[in-house]
Symmetry: D2
């Protein structure tokens, strides 16, 4: 199949929606945050954005959900854009091989998180962004508005509040990093912004368009360069090896693309140079990845042949 | 030597002061808290209190210092007195075998600290006391005033402030415990009281007298019973096996008595039924115990034969 | 009670045998070694040996059992006697705070076991003895024969074979230590002798008499000095803080004496200068200590007042 | 550049050889095995094999070296071919995030190695192959002879002997797995075959040709199917996420291909469906990957655009 044939790709998305989207809902919704626990695992949406911004989609592809850990990709992009190489003195770029919030590894590594997509690493990214602006969440929101062309997208305050009330594990990570001298701003401030950025509400369509900055190797929607080609490649490599919590190997096998999942059931995936995908369905497997989302991406890469392997 | 012969014991203390107290100062003062780093390692004091309150001492036995972790013994005593067996659902009674503030072990044990004398365990004790009173530090201070007969003893606010500014490691412990459901009060509140109780200023004389409650198997200075005989024995056993950070074995060998040390250089030791000792000298060994203090207690038990072994 | 009154002590032992020895058997027998799993948890024996070798006992105090980890005390005594301080460059003297065979701690401590009573530490002791003799088990057996006055005591080959067939965990410990350069002899050789020494068969009477070398502060049964007084004190301190697997604190509280337990249900305890105790009953608690044995020692120290506390 | 243009690809290889191959040698040779420590870090060779077996190369591309951990790919291929899905009950497929031989993680995961490319995982693969044949090394050697068309390739006995003499860490891993019931054959037997398979001597040319089975999605050199397409994809995914020890993220970023490195300085990389690469240069970085090899592959994918990203 010619990989950029819009009609063919739309046919693929429709076939996926008809099988995956109508299957018996699988997995269970995230339960550690009350607001997320209310989600319906039967819901499903999927979108595909081309580099020029054209977007196609199926199912509830215009329904907004809190993007949760998908925001870690955008935070990383912004930190690289505004702070550059300095970030890598504070956070590694290797997969972690442990449950995503383990303190053991952070202590073993003396306060340097292994990558920007585990929670500790995301705190380091937020702290780094706080050296650039005291409003990192607004910076991200405005960036996402512009990239996705959706000037009304915003934070879901109810989600942010709900997460803030269940923040102890992340607070422990933050204070441990502070103890090792790897957080420069007050831990509560870093946590506040971290929780808030996870609560941005976007649809599959909007995520797919916003992710275009990575797909276009660092170019923004307006054609201006935000990241160097090397930095964009770096973001892709980190997504491929660290984007699916403790299931990076499974994700590489089944999807074979750089991607990032979130506990609200969203997954963003990138076919470098070609298009950005976003799928959403709230039922999660035991590692925190959307069951239907993984299945949909698996089918997509199998049918289109766009997998790495 | 008859072990309760006051004159003979005083002679022993004087000999110790002449050798240990005048030796070249050894060890280094605690450096992680600025105020403690100002201490002079050459200073030395030692006191012995009989069950009836009579106290003898040598050197700077009436100089006050912040008692730091010695306060953990008094907090444990008060928690047992006011909350009883419930405490043991939240904290263990076994030596830890790791540096005293390790998060690894706490995670491995799912938020249950191994004993009340490691920092995590002391936070659990403080949290337990907060179920009894919202002023646990004042409860302890008033208790120490009465037991030591020193109505003017109080907190050193400068020390408390200094420690509060270096609280990240303990905050990580507290939030991790909270994440496991093993702290009931807000972490900052628990930390506030924990830091404050460590900042009580007492002299060797006052500590030795206040420790009498353990020496008298649970009886207070006024003869009333605070702890059951079994609970007092429990406190002794915990001091013997867990009282010297990661040097419990060394302490058992050299001193052979239940004891508890603090990073300001104080050590309290108990000869059950006979007398309470307190020695102070700020120079610490690499495990955080007073060098001259350990030496003094070693000589004392060797000369008097009051060691366990 | 005058603590050395034979008739009174015998009365105490009889009362213990009547209550503890006749109670419903508690705990479960060691199951990881088939031969030990055949033991009857209802059996009970207890002996007390005075420094002059006079021994009294109750129940099955003359029934032989494989002494298992109690042998670690005798191996330590012999290593100190024949190799001296050098031992302490290879093994620590602090409680471990982890399940007794954890590799994690050994790796964290770079191959130096925390004390001679965890399995890794016992392997280091055996390796050290192999520098003195290529027959360390025979050295120990002959020593135990002489000290206990039982020239016929020997290894239970069936037990040794059974343990040798379940040696993987200890083999992992041994190879890890070898990797860190802390075993000098071939790992299989060290394991062979380690397993064999655990299989010495002795009765409560014989263990109590053999333990006299510690009780007499280093003097053998024939009055000759084997250990310095300091080394004997050291052995006592290690027994008190590390002798009961992961229940050192509980043992200190309930028994309040230096002691060492084994998975066959035996416990040896020392009242320094006064007498040696040995109790045996195969039912174990979850930490591997004899339930009836702990109970018997608890009652003994409570009734005689010989506890530390 | 048309990616299958032989002349153009040869030009690329020559440019790489001229810059990388002639650069000041970087990194240090593996030192834990005496034989490997004798290697010259200035040596360099690189080969590219097309699916039809045609092979081009530069530098010392016909010099043989012991393939070390590259053999883990072939062992995995053979285990999947002969034992199938059963393998995955015993070993995971996720990156490890720890130094490649850590016992801590193996204990944490109860004896199930995280992937087949860490040493513990390779032991599980060898054990699995031992259920298929009692000569797994000969099976692999014969397979490699046929695939590479080099009937004379064989083991370097001197290397095997040298590694066998430094096997303690792997022996600890093996015994720990055996303790958890995850090795069925005697540990020494498994270790023997593991060490031997690492000592196969091959040239870049031979490795590149032998790797064709993965590149051709499971088809052998003679066109017969060895692995299903899914299993071949699985091998690729594991190489991409786990093939470079603790530098999987760095490898993904710089090379962007499935690959596997060995401590003798070889790296095999796969461009699925297109060609197999092998580069060799003994100077290693601190994570055990060839410095010049990584550099060469980085330049190759940059110049040809065959990277994933």
């Amino acid at each position: 199949m010619p990989m950029n044939d819009t009609a063919a790709l739309y046919g693929t998305l429709r076939r996926i929606a008809e099988t995956v989207g109508r299957a018996e809902p699988a997995g269970r919704v995230a339960h550690y945050i009350p607001v997320l626990a209310e989600a319906d695992p039967a819901r499903f949406g999927m979108a595909l954005a081309f580099p020029d911004g054209e977007t196609i989609g199926v199912g509830e592809w215009r329904h907004r959900f809190s993007i949760q850990s998908i925001s870690k990709v955008f935070a990383l992009v912004l930190a690289l854009a505004h702070r550059g190489e300095h970030l890598w003195t504070r956070v590694g770029r290797e997969p972690s091989g442990n449950p995503f919030n383990s303190l053991v590894q952070l202590e073993y590594e003396q306060g340097i998180p292994r990558n920007p997509f585990i929670n500790a690493g995301a705190l380091a990214v937020t702290d780094e962004l706080l050296d650039h602006t005291d409003q990192p969440c607004e910076l991200m929101r405005d960036f996402l508005r512009e990239e996705s062309g959706a000037p009304d997208l915003d934070f879901d305050q109810r989600v942010a509040d709900s997460e803030a009330a269940h923040i102890d594990r992340n607070a422990a990570l933050g204070h441990l990093m502070a103890d090792y001298g790897n957080l420069r701003h007050p831990v509560p401030q870093v946590l506040h912004h971290y929780v808030r950025q996870c609560a941005v509400e976007m649809s599959c369509e909007e995520v797919a368009r916003a992710g275009g900055v990575v797909t276009r190797h660092g170019l923004r929607a307006d054609g201006s360069r935000l990241l160097s080609r090397g930095d964009a490649k770096r973001v892709n490599a980190i997504m491929l090896t660290c984007g699916a919590y403790d299931a990076a190997g499974e994700f590489a096998f089944r999807v074979g693309l750089p991607g990032k999942s979130g506990v609200s059931g969203g997954i963003m995936a990138v076919v470098p140079g070609r298009y950005t995908l976003c799928v959403w369905s709230p039922g999660l497997d035991r590692r925190g990845n959307s069951v239907a989302g993984m299945d949909a991406l698996d089918r997509f890469t199998t049918e289109t042949g766009c997998s790495v392997f």
